[in-house]
């Protein structure tokens, strides 16, 4: 019986390695309110909570391995159906998958128990998303949309919360974040969908939204322009509306991958809606918060696809015989397989560290928001902490989304290469993994946008502060001290490149954002793997190989940044050549 948690040594290693007991204490407010909890399933202490997390992930692993994975191929082949009346019928196997997740109580993963949720930390949720995505990446877009319920919990009024959250937790409804429009993709400030108040003062929505993941879901969070006179992001508010006569699916996209996930074009015709939180904070506060969580989710989804692709390639390289032996004995194949695995583990280290920092940030914000009785001293400390964590997260979250998704595409691509001709055929799932992986560098903000966000952190001190904190640690193993020395040298080069960029202005910063962020990520992951290597023999070799592969790249990247070449900007017409005639 396949269990995608219990068969994954690396996730289990991280489960033990990350301090989940500390996260449990944060999540459960130091277990101060256990006696008031009437749910009957509240943990008593940190060990009890961590035991619960492990049991929950074991269930996720079982559902993913036994019940979801066997359906993935058929769902990919057949997809969902758009009906004439503007509704969507999910593939019967997608419906069955959702029913399984609901039966297992997994659809209120992070919601508080008072709404019927499991109250798990984000870090555990990220692990669950990875595990589900390994079975079927497209199902993540339904399972992994729980940030919608989190957003309602964080910002909506009590009436909306009481009405919607228990339904999410029971798995009766799914949601969609309805942001993108034909002319507002990466640039959400350009959103036009109109929100207005009718004679009774009730909000109504009119307009079109495009590329909406699960737009056919029952509960929609819609970004709309409530202030027609304010043209930018400050004119936008967030609304909640339910599927009904005023909301119609006009088109179901035909996509390269994630066929199980319905991507809808939605038409709103005076659909009744309710305001979430305050007017004008829709984009700048609520959607930003929602997107940050969703980005970590995509990072975890990427890990899942990469894990599936890696496993396939590893088995194939071991069993496929050519030239009188398994192809894994050929140096070129051995390199592909080991690098897939090393980069997968590197990405996992970054993704779960980011999740861990998110947990610290979210719980701190929750305490500041909901607990009215905090002494002023404590409040000051927490506000300070909040700023620090926000800075670190503002760098780590886009880094994790960028690095994990790019890694997934590379690993899925390499998996096809390892399988050779067989990988190109539909007989193996390798091609599906690549098609599914490909979206991860695009949605929830493209890689290029993640770099724009991450590079601000790299050049504004967050990178240097983060590394300085990790450099203080000493290791009693000469190999690790040596590798740490390499990381110090690497950081020196990155800092040199940062100084250079700062003299050049923002255009240049955006031009060389990618190599600069790549170099910084190598140093950050290096430190995370150092921490792992200190407690695990095998991880020493993973770290050594990671650095052997990445430090030369770091040097190349830094040298490139220092070159000051701006020809893509200054000689764009010359280098890109004339615009081809459209056929």
């Amino acid at each position: 019986m396949a269990n995608y948690f219990l068969d994954n040594e690396d996730i289990q290693f991280l489960f033990d390695h990350l301090d989940l007991r500390e996260l449990a204490r944060l999540q459960e407010d130091d277990f101060a309110y256990v006696s008031e909890d009437g749910s009957g399933y509240a943990p008593r202490d940190a060990d009890d909570a961590v035991d619960n997390y492990r049991r929950v992930l074991t269930i996720v692993g079982q559902v993913a391995g036994e019940m979801i994975a066997p359906n993935a191929e058929q769902i990919d082949r057949e997809g969902n159906t758009l009906n004439e009346d503007g509704t969507v019928t999910l593939h019967p196997l997608v419906q069955r998958n959702l029913r399984r997740l609901a039966q297992a109580d997994l659809m209120g993963f992070t919601l508080p128990r008072r709404y019927g949720g499991l109250n798990c930390p984000t870090t555990v949720y990220s692990m669950a998303i990875e595990i589900v995505s390994r079975a079927d990446a497209s199902l993540m877009n339904l399972f992994g949309l729980q940030g919608i319920a989190e957003t309602i919990y964080a910002f909506a009024d009590d009436q909306i919360k009481d009405e919607t959250l228990p339904r999410f937790a029971r798995g009766e409804v799914t949601g969609a974040m309805v942001l993108t429009e034909p002319d507002a993709g990466s640039d959400l400030q350009a959103v036009r969908l109109r929100a207005y108040q009718d004679e009774q003062g009730n909000w109504r929505l009119s307009g079109v939204k495009r590329f909406i993941t699960n737009g056919c879901g029952e509960i929609l969070l819609v970004l709309a322009r409530s202030e027609p006179d304010i043209a930018d992001g400050r004119g936008l508010s967030l609304f909640i509306t339910e599927r009904g006569p005023g909301v119609r699916v006009r088109h179901l996209e035909n996509k390269l991958g994630i066929h199980g996930s319905p991507t809808c074009e939605l038409v709103f015709e005076d659909a009744p809606a309710r305001l979430i939180g305050e007017r004008q904070r829709g984009l700048i506060t609520y959607v930003m918060s929602l997107m940050n969580g969703a980005r970590v989710g995509i990072a975890a989804q990427s890990l899942g696809v990469a894990e599936a692709a890696f496993r396939l390639a590893r088995c194939y390289a071991h069993t496929r015989q050519q030239f009188g032996g398994p192809i894994e004995r050929l140096p070129a194949v051995a390199e592909m397989v080991t690098d897939m695995k090393v980069h997968l583990e590197a990405a996992r280290a970054l993704c779960y560290e980011t999740s861990r920092v998110c947990d610290h940030e979210n719980n701190n914000l929750r305490v500041l928001e909901f607990r009215k009785d905090i002494p002023p001293e404590e409040k000051k400390r927490r506000t300070q902490l909040s700023r620090t964590l926000k800075r670190i997260n503002g760098m780590l979250t886009p880094m994790a989304k960028y690095y994990c998704s790019e890694m997934a595409c590379r690993v899925a691509d390499t998996a096809i290469q390892v399988l050779g001709g067989s990988g190109y055929m539909k007989d193996y799932p390798a091609e599906r993994y690549l098609r599914d992986a490909r979206i991860t560098t695009i949605y929830e903000g493209t890689s290029q946008l993640q770099i724009v966000a991450a590079v601000r952190g790299v050049t504004s001190g967050a990178f240097e502060n983060w590394t300085a904190e990790h450099e203080g640690r000493s290791y009693d193993d000469p190999l690790l001290e040596e590798l740490k020395g390499h990381l110090l040298e690497g950081k020196r080069r990155v800092v040199e490149a940062i100084q250079f960029v700062k003299t050049k202005g923002t255009q240049y910063l955006d031009l060389v954002g990618r190599p600069l962020v790549d170099a910084a990520i190598t140093v950050i992951i290096g430190h995370l793997l150092l921490g792992q290597a200190a407690v695990n023999q095998r991880k020493k070799h993973v770290l050594r190989r990671f650095l052997a592969r990445q430090l030369p790249m770091l040097e190349t990247n830094c040298r490139y940044v220092l070159s000051g070449d701006v020809s893509p900007l200054e000689q764009y017409e010359l280098l890109a050549g004339p615009v081809p005639a459209m056929e």
Partner: protein
């Protein structure tokens, strides 16, 4: 209209994952070498009962007969949604064959009193007899439907079931109460529910607590151990986490029909069959070679 369902479940050695140490020298099963699992077809029986409850209302009670460790499968029943679980454990029931086992189970079912449907897995993967379900029905004096592959309607005290008959199926109707044995085609067992796992993970039967206390205080005198067990039993009962435990007296069983005394089955012979690979055959990759291979497979009755 609500229905009360009883499910008989068994903990079995996982014979699907057999290793070299699975059999003792004398040919009996080395239970220590095999992980103990929920008998697979009993999970389908449990699912059938839970689906009846989900659809019509009512209750699901799971019973397991076995050593204290069998409470593990009862906890699993709680995780998946059973309302009530009962551990039937008694040293005097050890070594029961199918006749004695079905007698004991039928006594337990009688003790429960009111019920509409009893579900059993078709057979257990350790003995593969498929006798216990039907024998229970006989002893209870109620009709039985074996090999259920699809649950149909329940209406006005009548159940409609599609049963597998080897090379096809038939639909039968039967008045309640009835005993039904279930095959895997009937449904897909639901996963354990996370919140129920968090709630019931501490549920224990008294016999488990006794074993736990003895392991923790090996030197302690009997009365001290008994007092500690009692204390833990009461603590769990207060939390609603005590798994009910019945012995043969509780179900009014005739001891001559239980355990070794009530088991007429005699093992005639146990054979240890060792499958060995004896050389290998090279098949030339030609039309003729393949034809030859197919012919041999047909002759050996592997194909056809």
């Amino acid at each position: 209209m609500p229905y009360d369902c009883i499910v008989c479940v068994k903990q079995v050695p996982d014979t699907a994952n057999v290793t070299a140490s699975a059999m003792n020298e004398d040919g009996t099963v080395n239970r220590a070498a095999l992980p103990a699992i929920f008998n697979p077809e009993d999970l389908h029986a449990l699912e059938a009962a839970l689906e009846v409850r989900d659809r019509y209302g009512g209750t699901v009670t799971a019973i397991s007969m076995g050593p204290p460790k069998a409470a593990e499968v009862l906890r699993d029943c709680l995780y998946r949604g059973a309302d009530r679980v009962i551990l039937l454990t008694d040293r005097r029931a050890a070594a029961s064959d199918t006749l004695a086992t079905s007698y004991i189970l039928s006594q337990a079912i009688r003790t429960l009193g009111r019920y509409d449907l009893v579900f059993c897995g078709r057979q257990a993967i350790d003995g593969d007899t498929a006798q216990v379900g039907p024998q229970c029905a006989e002893k209870l004096g109620i009709p039985q439907i074996t090999y259920m592959e699809q649950m149909g309607e329940l209406r006005e005290g009548i159940v409609r079931v599609r049963r597998n008959i080897g090379h096809g199926w038939e639909v039968v109707e039967c008045p309640l109460p009835v005993l039904i044995t279930v095959i895997p085609a009937a449904n897909q067992p639901r996963p354990p529910a996370a919140k129920r796992v968090m709630r019931y993970k501490r549920a224990r039967a008294a016999a488990e607590l006794a074993a736990q206390v003895k392991a923790e205080m090996p030197e302690a005198p009997e009365d001290l151990i008994a007092a500690e067990v009692q204390r833990r039993v009461e603590a769990l009962r207060a939390e609603g986490l005590l798994i009910e435990q019945w012995d043969l007296d509780r179900i009014g069983a005739d001891l001559s029909r239980c355990g070794m005394a009530g088991s007429p089955t005699k093992v005639f012979r146990i054979q240890s069959i060792v499958l060995k690979r004896e050389g290998h055959v090279q098949v030339p990759p030609t039309e003729d070679g393949i034809r030859q291979l197919v012919r041999e497979l047909v002759v050996d009755r592997i194909l056809g």
